[in-house]
């Protein structure tokens, strides 16, 4: 039982627009931190720039709101220098995937043990409504009055392309779903990418409409659980099966029974099916929520410190004076 409550992690009065997904996420994060039991002073929350990157100001922890796109890099330096502190890195889709895309992929590739939150509302909100790297092709915004002529990133695809070992997805308004994946992310050792689907009430209202409320999710989403058959639908009447190179939605009872349905394996090293699950979208497929991939691998920070230990054991010098003497020295008398 944790000695902390959500209140211990709360600070200040959030200033996001009423109804913004950030409010929902923040509440879930406070709850999760309380349940995890890591002391506020052993927690660091580090963000970039954007609406969602204001989040550290509402955290009673060590925190830093940095510069646009660099939160993953700053978190990497922080974690490797001080691995005892739990790091939560907060970014939006513009911050994390556009200006900070390089740091995002390399933090994932290195597998630094930080929890990387990607609050995806598919829009630049703070600068008042430009399309982002996750806005769909044809998206009309202030900077794309005739629709965009470029394809978006899928955060999961980018994460897997960077050898991501953990990817989970939740809808901001779904407190339990969010809490579940944040806990799994915290438990996972390594870079844990959590995509939070959230609404921007002002500049991109309804962007995740099909799954934003409970009823929508019942119809249009599937909650993945490791070891459980992938069944969904209002009456649990649908399931996923593998067909050819892809996945297929089938109706139970119509030639398929529960034993035919794919069982989710989040720990499978091969990411092929994880990617297929992560890329599912309506109207033909449900949106996958929950922990899609969760595979153990050595973390960057552990490896760095293990190497320090290992080399230190082999080298004969352990302070500056001893270092000097490893050189070719001559003496003048």
């Amino acid at each position: 039982m944790s000695e902390y409550t959500a209140k211990d992690f709360k600070k200040g009065q959030p200033r996001w627009c009423p109804g913004c997904g950030d409010h929902f996420f923040l509440a879930s994060l406070h709850k999760v931190l309380a349940e995890l039991g890591v002391a506020p002073h052993n927690t660091a929350v580090i963000s970039g720039i954007g609406c969602s990157s204001r989040l550290p100001y509402y955290m009673n922890t060590y925190a830093m709101q940095t510069i646009h796109g660099r939160a993953a890099a700053i978190s990497t330096g922080f974690k490797v220098a001080n691995p005892d502190i739990t790091v939560w890195q907060i970014s939006g889709d513009g911050d994390g995937l556009a200006i900070g895309g390089n740091h995002f992929i390399h933090a994932v590739r290195r597998n630094i043990d930080i929890n990387m939150i990607l609050l995806n509302n598919r829009i630049y909100g703070l600068t008042k409504g430009q399309y982002s790297p996750t806005s769909p092709r044809g998206f009309v915004s202030k900077s794309s009055p005739y629709g965009t002529v470029e394809d978006p990133f899928s955060p999961a695809e980018l994460c897997f392309g960077a050898r991501g070992r953990f990817f989970a997805r939740a809808v901001a308004t779904d407190a339990q779903g969010t809490v579940d994946i944040l806990k799994a992310a915290a438990k996972h050792k390594g870079a844990s990418v959590c995509e939070i689907l959230q609404n921007c009430v002002i500049f991109n209202d309804g962007t995740h409409e099909s799954v934003y409320n409970k009823e929508g999710r019942a119809k249009n989403a599937i909650y993945l659980e490791h070891g459980k058959p992938m069944i969904f639908g209002e009456n649990k009447e649908y399931g996923l099966v593998q067909e050819g190179f892809g996945l297929k939605v089938v109706k139970l009872g119509e030639g398929y029974s529960e034993k035919d349905i794919l069982v989710h394996d989040a720990h499978c090293t091969d990411n092929t099916l994880h990617l297929k699950l992560a890329l599912m979208d309506g109207p033909d497929f449900p949106v996958a929520l929950g922990v899609i991939r969760d595979v153990e691998a050595p973390t960057y920070n552990d490896s760095v410190h293990e190497q320090l230990q290992e080399v230190s054991g082999k080298k004969p010098y352990h302070n500056f004076q001893e270092l000097l003497l490893t050189n070719d020295i001559w003496e003048v008398k």
């Binding site: 002073h41 830093m64 080399v311 000097l324």
Partner: protein, 610 residues
């Protein structure tokens, strides 16, 4: 055979970039330093990644100045030029004194070699108008003969040619080969056969000189009779910089962290620090320059002595992050090993053209302390001081070095860390617990540092302006104005030593002013002029922001002042901005090459004559 005693001698080894001239030069420098000579070295790398063999662009040089007494530069021109092929002779001959001795490998002067080196005739000596003594030795053939019984293949044998040249030079300077032997056995410890082959060739070169007298009339001796007692090593500027950071981290008791991205000519700092894991140094080779600075800022926030190293183009990319360290007031050392610019410019060459960039090249009011290292060995003290200032004043600090200082080396008396000033960061005090706000300041105007993990000191830092009292985001006009002034004043308050005037301190008619890596050349020019009865003094700056308190007094004390720098007048412009009414002469050069002392002397004499 006569032996002539010399006070100082300059030797330049040159050859194809695959000929091992840097190694030969290094060994000769070490041998000389070991017997007590002072040394100053300068490797002159080709710009091409791997130019065609024997071509003019593929020539690599290594110059060493050895002196019985102190030497301040690698020397303008050389007394001995080793040219391992025709291209080397063609491009390097201009560095030979009129009295120089030139050593060539005649086996690399065949028609095809001459053609590659763009000689028009079959007599390169005549074509270049060489009047000096030339030791023309069939080095390649002699090396092959020497190693014939080792069973080595042709390619491996040819790689030992540099050692023959080294042996010959050692004979010319009456050097003991035992030191070279030890050096080679250590360098090739894992390949003892290779070590023995190299040693064999060194002796063969020496014996060749000894037996044939190599068509010269005398050999030389550079003997040091008085030297400051102590233990010494040969150290390059980049290595000295790395050592300064290690020393500072140990002194203050913090972990050293380097975030860096490979860039010429700064990468050797990353290489050096990556080795020393037994000193708990963490190095992260980042995905880009921005991340180099950003990871360092993260590490600083986490409680490390954080450093990022780069060259000019990297500073451009890091600027935004450097400003984050300005506004969050986190300690950070930013090392800029300057090279030729703008843009990719001259990556392997040296300039002082980043001065205004590091002083002013960021958005907003962005005060940042700037130091410049004055010689390869002085990089140690400069890096130590940069770390001390960063940690004690909670600020990013820029340390400027340059390709010349970074790649050059000198004999360095091993420091005693006990004698170095303590480093005391303004850590939070226990009584601040539960009431700490991040912009509470001490009597020097420096905020207190709360390293994460401590109960009762949680706080948020960030790039947005903060209220000076509460630490909360603030756009209040008066608060912002106040915070800008506080940050500026904090940097202005940094205590730096007075700038020293050397030479004719009291009665100079001309004061030479410089900064950073040009010290040796400017000092040598001043010294030479004083020896010739001219009244000249030198004020050389290492602390650039803030400037020493006596700056104005020094600059206004002398009738004529010349600011000499390897750019188009950046330091002069900065001094004019800081010292009202200051209107100096200027000597500017942006050639990517070190100053030439004789040219400096000529220019300064012209100013004196005006």
């Amino acid at each position: 055979m006569n032996i002539i005693d010399k006070q100082q001698v300059v030797v330049r080894f040159s050859g194809d970039s695959g000929d091992g001239m840097q190694l030969a030069g290094n060994i000769f420098s070490t041998i000389s330093a070991t017997v007590g000579n002072d040394i100053s070295t300068f490797p002159d790398y080709p710009a091409d990644i791997r130019a065609p063999q024997g071509s003019l662009t593929g020539v690599s040089g290594f110059q060493v100045h050895i002196g019985a007494k102190k030497v301040f530069t690698p020397g303008d021109k050389c007394d001995v030029l080793v040219a391992m092929n025709a291209a080397a002779l063609k491009t390097q001959y201009r560095f030979a004194k009129s009295t120089a001795c030139i050593i060539i490998d005649t086996d690399s002067f065949k028609p095809a070699d001459l053609e590659k080196a763009a000689f028009k005739t079959d007599n390169p000596i005549e074509e270049l108008g060489i009047k000096q003594d030339v030791i023309a030795a069939p080095i390649t053939q002699m090396v092959k003969d020497c190693l014939a019984e080792t069973g080595m293949d042709n390619k491996a044998m040819l790689k030992c040619r540099n050692m023959f040249a080294l042996g010959l030079v050692c004979w010319l300077f009456n050097r003991d080969l035992k030191i070279a032997e030890t050096f080679l056995r250590e360098k090739f410890a894992k390949k003892p056969q290779l070590a023995e082959a190299n040693i064999k060739v060194v002796y063969a070169g020496y014996d060749y000189g000894h037996n044939t007298h190599a068509s010269v009339y005398h050999t030389y001796r550079v003997e040091t009779k008085e030297a400051v007692p102590g233990k010494y090593m040969d150290i390059s500027g980049n290595k000295a910089t790395a050592y300064g950071l290690i020393a500072a981290a140990e002194k203050v008791g913090l972990r050293l962290f380097l975030g860096s991205y490979p860039i010429t000519p700064a990468t050797d700092i990353l290489h050096e620090l990556s080795k020393h894991k037994s000193l708990s140094v963490i190095t992260v080779q980042c995905e880009d320059e921005i991340s180099g600075c950003a990871t360092a800022i993260g590490a600083s926030f986490a409680g490390a002595l954080a450093v990022t190293s780069t060259s000019g183009p990297g500073i451009c990319l890091k600027s935004e992050a450097m400003n984050l360290a300005v506004i969050t007031e986190l300690p950070l050392v930013v090392i800029d090993v300057q090279r030729g610019g703008p843009s990719t410019g001259l990556p392997t060459k040296s300039e002082q053209t980043d001065l205004l960039q590091v002083l002013f090249g960021r958005n907003g009011e962005s005060p940042m302390p700037v130091l410049a290292a004055t010689s390869p060995t002085q990089c140690f003290d400069a890096a130590y001081m940069a770390s001390k200032i960063a940690l004690e004043y909670m600020t990013p600090v820029v340390l400027l070095t340059d390709a010349f200082v970074a790649n050059g080396s000198g004999a360095w008396r091993l420091p005693d860390l006990e004698q170095y000033p303590t480093i005391k960061p303004p850590y939070v005090l226990p009584e601040m617990k539960d009431n700490y706000t991040p912009y509470q300041r001490n009597e020097k105007g420096v905020r207190y540092w709360a390293i994460p993990g401590q109960e009762g000191f949680m706080h948020i830092l960030g790039g947005l302006e903060k209220d000076g009292n509460t630490g909360a985001i603030s756009t209040d006009p008066d608060n912002h104005d106040k915070m800008c002034r506080i940050r500026a004043q904090k940097v202005a308050n940094i205590e730096v030593p007075d700038v020293k005037v050397e030479g004719c301190v009291d009665d100079a008619e001309l004061l030479v002013v410089g900064f950073g890596g040009t010290y040796g050349h400017l000092y040598s020019a001043m010294q030479e002029m004083c020896q010739n009865g001219k009244k000249v003094a030198l004020a050389h700056f290492s602390f650039l922001n803030p400037l020493p308190k006596n700056t104005e007094e020094v600059l206004k004390k002398y009738k004529k002042v010349v600011v000499a720098e390897q750019n188009l007048g950046q330091f002069a412009a900065y001094l004019k901005m800081k010292v009202a009414g200051f209107n100096p002469y200027q000597y500017n050069e942006v050639k990517g090459q070190p100053f030439v002392v004789s040219e400096l002397v000529e220019a300064f004499e012209n100013i004196l004559a005006k």
